[in-house]
């Protein structure tokens, strides 16, 4: 009996979040139009308390719910990161939503449910749990993209996202069912044991593996499964783009680790080749196509694709150090992406989206401080030291140099040079061009403070990356 109690406590943060999500839903239903502010406040509270609950339970590890749910250091760290990032996302998005008549309680309900889905993905120890978490997260996001229902681009983006997302889920399920057929289990640990003990049909196993990789590729946005990404990032309201572009990438990374490393770690040689293809193609296509973009949101979408390529590098290395490097990269990417889309929100106002690169012309003359913040974020994304993006690239490239995949490493560094070009272009526009408009920023103080804190964190982590790197390494060295 006591055993059961301990088991339940492992999922306490998620249960709390579920209860709160339902409360917010009810509050919104009863309060109607006025409910949005309440929903916003409750959502922030929920995320903060959930993060604290997870923090307090650090150090405990084990399985719950008959081995379908796992709590370990990996899941704790990622869940705390997801909560913190979503707090920032909600903070950024509020004024944007208000200015466009989208400030409704549903946004927050969907965001919290989606966050819950991410947390379930991170903690999944069973194929079904992964799938449930993934669907909970994705379905909420489809609805969020479509929130601006009068906008043609938003509706189109939501449609694309939904259809391609559904195909991806189908692929993933198909792969899961094949692996179940081979190993006779849906739980991740028994699957790993079954593969380790050998005697399985390798062809069928690889066949299932291919579908899993496709599913992961879709969710991460790796080439050639990236088609939805630029359209969705571009079409969705910026507040929603911000939500999609940050925490879900961490969740998708966790899903990749749970499936490929925890579950199918022993057939590493099979998935390594596939990931090399995805990674190299993502880095090349993402960086090259980003150069041609004139819309900042689209450019950042292609830049995401290239970052995904780098995240995959660490996973494909197959070493503890590589996984830690990828985790570091995913966290840093979420932080940088948060700042970059936050900047788009900061610059935008009613009737002005600030999503064209030309909208940033002469920003350093108009707002030197925010131009500096954007400069930090862009140089960090480009991977120029002493900013944290450099260490992210450094560690993943180090992990593949250590397994002697020098040719892949060469592609990676060359692509980061090409990538530097389009980030430099943003800086060029901000610093070297004359301003075309003189309108002052209208963003409220909380966003201004948040963007400064966000960029300065990127800078501070660049000077002292040691503790976060050590944290990522410790998660995998157990």
């Amino acid at each position: 009996m006591t055993f059961e109690v301990v088991n339940m406590s492992f999922a306490l943060p998620e249960m709390f979040m579920l209860a709160m999500a339902c409360t917010i839903l009810l509050a919104v239903a009863f309060l109607g139009e006025k409910g949005a502010s309440t929903a916003y406040g409750l959502s922030q509270l929920t995320l903060a308390i959930t993060a604290i609950l997870i923090y307090q339970s650090l150090g405990k590890a084990g399985l719950a719910f008959d081995g379908t749910y796992i709590k370990d250091a990996f899941s704790d760290v990622l869940k705390i990161a997801i909560c913190i990032i979503n707090i920032a996302v909600l903070l950024y998005s509020t004024s944007y939503l208000k200015a466009r008549g989208l400030f409704k309680g549903e946004y927050y309900v969907l965001a919290i449910f989606s966050t819950l889905g991410m947390m379930i993905m991170v903690s999944a120890a069973h194929f079904l749990t992964i799938y449930l978490g993934l669907e909970l997260m994705s379905l909420c996001m489809y609805a969020m993209v479509a929130m601006h229902r009068d906008s043609m681009v938003s509706t189109e983006a939501a449609m694309k996202y939904f259809i391609l997302g559904a195909i991806a889920s189908g692929m993933l399920l198909y792969g899961m069912s094949i692996i179940y057929g081979v190993t006779g289990s849906l739980e991740i640990a028994p699957i790993a044991q079954a593969i380790q003990s050998g005697g399985l049909d390798n062809t069928v196993l690889s066949f299932g593996l291919v579908f899993l990789v496709i599913g992961i590729g879709f969710k991460l946005g790796a080439v050639p499964f990236h088609m939805w990404l630029p359209d969705v990032y571009h079409g969705a309201p910026t507040a929603v783009t911000l939500f999609i572009a940050t925490a879900p990438k961490i969740a998708a990374f966790a899903m990749a680790i749970r499936l490929l490393v925890d579950g199918l770690g022993d057939v590493h040689q099979h998935w390594q080749g596939m990931l090399i293809m995805l990674s190299v193609l993502s880095m090349i296509l993402g960086n090259v196509v980003a150069i041609a973009q004139t819309n900042l949101k689209r450019m950042l979408a292609y830049s995401t694709i290239s970052h995904v390529g780098f995240i995959l590098l660490g996973i494909l290395s197959g070493s503890q150090e590589g996984y830690a490097a990828s985790m570091f990269y995913a966290l840093v990417y979420a932080l940088m992406s948060l700042g970059a889309f936050g900047m788009v929100i900061l610059m935008s106002r009613q009737g002005f989206e600030a999503d064209n690169i030309d909208d940033y012309k002469g920003l350093s003359s108009r707002n030197p401080w925010y131009a500096l913040m954007m400069l930090i974020l862009m140089f960090s994304m480009a991977g120029i030291p002493p900013l944290v993006g450099f260490y992210a690239k450094l560690t993943v490239i180090k992990s593949i140099v250590d397994i002697n995949l020098i040719s892949v490493a060469i592609v990676a560094v060359l692509m980061s040079v090409i990538g530097a070009f389009y980030y430099l272009r943003i800086i060029k526009v901000m610093y070297f061009d004359k301003p075309e408009q003189q309108q002052a920023l209208q963003a409220p103080t909380d966003i201004k403070l948040m963007i400064s804190a966000n960029a300065l964190t990127v800078f501070a982590l660049g000077l002292f990356p040691g503790s976060l790197l050590a944290l990522c390494a410790s998660v995998f060295s157990l």
């Binding site: 490239i397 140099v401 530097a420 070009f421 430099l424 990356p465 040691g466």
Partner: protein
């Protein structure tokens, strides 16, 4: 007295923090004095390195060590030897000059301009002082950011093209350096540059690593044919930017070859020395002719920089031929010391030449040689300085420009007569393009009304050029203090390169 202070850390962080203070202070009447104060204190502190330096040993001195990223055993590890110490002082000195040079000229975003140069000074000193490969790389790349902004914000009409070209060119080179460093860590199990010196590597590994180093540092030097970013960057950069580019950033290329390529991959350096020697001689001869054809003052000096830096790389890589021809190795010492003296001397002379162009440009707002003529008539004091620096640039005995080139040419005779012969053409070509430029700009009748209205140097410009002139003359007449401090380090480097790692 100086041994107890973390002098190197002070030298790195004082200008960086000083730069931030200038930036936060904003544009007001304290901006310029504060910048000057920071740069002068930095210079005085850097002289402390010279005073406390023990020139009898090749060991790293003023060593500092602290853990930085413990997961990967990356350390904040600093130290200097006879190669880096003079370059650090050169950096500190150039920064003072740059602050003084921008005193009245820069009126737009002054605090940002000064802050960029101060921060850059700290980062460049750190490049020379870093003993950890990742620390080196971080500073090596980080210094691109302020320079990128300096050229892009305060540069000429085509500045955006020039600065992006500069940034991408150098970034392209340095990513290969990063790969090489990661591979070396894989082999050596540490990121310490001194540990890298001791690893054993097969010839094939060495060749790949050497090529990576060569790409990274050849872009910085710059060596022909990857030099094309330099004329663009120089022409568009503000005077201060040109001074720092010519005086320091180019030296980082030469320093990198000394610190990484030669000691870590000696066998590959020997196997591929023909490549570097060939490129260096091409730079000396071909770029000399290219310089002759320039009609833009800054472009001419930029090409002359490339030709002069050819001597540096030539001096460093003829040592293998000298070893093959003679057993004593005294010629090899001469070659490497010549290369080092050439680097430092070029730092002063090129800086002075760019400042002279800056003086003219501030008055006439053109760099076309044809717009000038007979400047000597209206600016006699300036004319004196300009002719003196031009002579130094051409390698007149008694100036520092002569010492380095002469040492390298002398050493080249021990390697191969034809190397020396081709290198010596610089004495003719250098004199030709420099003096012809001087003739067209300075002498003859007053060419037009604009020239007739020129005013001579003010006090600030006079002391700026005079201090450089004194150093150029002193180094030319008595180079011993500089060669002495580096002697032990040069000998150590030569033992390292003469021992095969195979």
């Amino acid at each position: 007295m100086f041994t107890n202070l973390p002098l190197l850390s002070l030298l790195i962080w004082l200008p960086v923090l000083g730069g931030l203070a200038v930036l936060i202070n904003g544009d007001n009447r304290f901006t310029r004095p504060l910048s000057l104060l920071v740069s002068v204190i930095t210079l005085l502190l850097s002289l402390g390195l010279y005073v406390g330096f023990d020139s009898a040993t090749h060991q790293m001195q003023f060593v500092e060590q602290a853990s930085w990223i413990s997961t990967f055993n990356i350390n904040y590890s600093l130290g200097i030897d006879g190669f880096s110490m003079p370059l650090i002082i050169l950096t500190a000195f150039s920064t003072v000059i740059v602050v003084v040079a921008g005193w009245e000229v820069i009126q737009h975003k002054v605090s940002q301009y000064m802050a960029a140069f101060l921060i850059m000074a700290g980062l460049m000193i750190a490049v020379f002082a870093a003993l950890d490969a990742i620390l080196f790389y971080v500073f090596f790349e980080a210094m691109l950011i302020p320079l990128f902004l300096v050229i892009g914000i305060w540069g000429g009409p085509n500045r955006v093209y020039a600065t992006i070209k500069f940034f991408l060119y150098t970034l392209f080179g340095s990513v290969f350096l990063l790969l090489a460093l990661l591979y070396l860590h894989h082999v050596a199990g540490s990121f310490s540059i001194l540990d890298f010196h001791d690893v054993t590597l097969s010839l094939q590994e060495q060749i790949y690593l050497f090529l990576a180093f060569l790409i990274a540092f050849a872009v910085k030097v710059p060596m022909w044919p990857v030099h094309t970013w330099l004329p663009d960057a120089h022409v568009e950069a503000p005077t201060g930017g040109s001074v720092i580019l010519a005086a320091i950033t180019l030296k980082i290329g030469g320093y990198g070859l000394l610190r990484f390529a030669l000691p870590i991959t000696p066998d590959a350096s020997m196997a591929l020395d023909w490549l570097v020697i060939g490129l260096s001689l091409t730079a000396v001869v071909y770029i000399g002719f290219v310089a002759l054809a320039q009609s833009d003052l800054k472009k001419l000096i930029a090409y002359s920089s490339i030709a002069h830096m050819g001597f540096v790389t030539l001096g460093l890589f003829i040592v293998f031929r000298i070893f093959a021809n003679s057993s004593t190795g005294s010629g090899a010492v001469l070659a490497v010391e010549g290369a080092m003296v050439q680097m430092i001397s070029h730092g002063f002379i090129a800086a002075a030449m760019f400042l002279c162009v800056g003086v003219l440009y501030d008055r006439m707002h053109t760099r076309e040689i044809s717009a000038y003529g007979g400047v000597m008539n209206t600016m006699p004091i300036f004319g004196g300085f300009a002719v003196f620096f031009a002579m130094a640039n051409a390698g007149l005995p008694g100036t520092s420009g002569f010492v380095g080139e002469f040492m390298v040419i002398l050493a080249a005779f021990q390697a191969n007569f034809w190397f020396a012969f081709l290198a010596a053409t610089t004495l003719i070509l250098g004199a030709a393009y420099t003096l012809w430029m001087i003739k067209r700009v300075m002498f003859g009748e007053v060419a037009n009304d604009n020239v007739a209205q020129l005013t001579d140097l003010n006090r600030r410009e006079f002391w700026m050029l005079a201090s450089l002139a004194i150093i150029v003359l002193a180094m030319g007449l008595w180079p011993a203090p500089i060669t002495e401090v580096m002697h032990a380090s040069v000998e150590h480097l030569l033992t390292q390169v003469s021992q095969s790692k195979l």
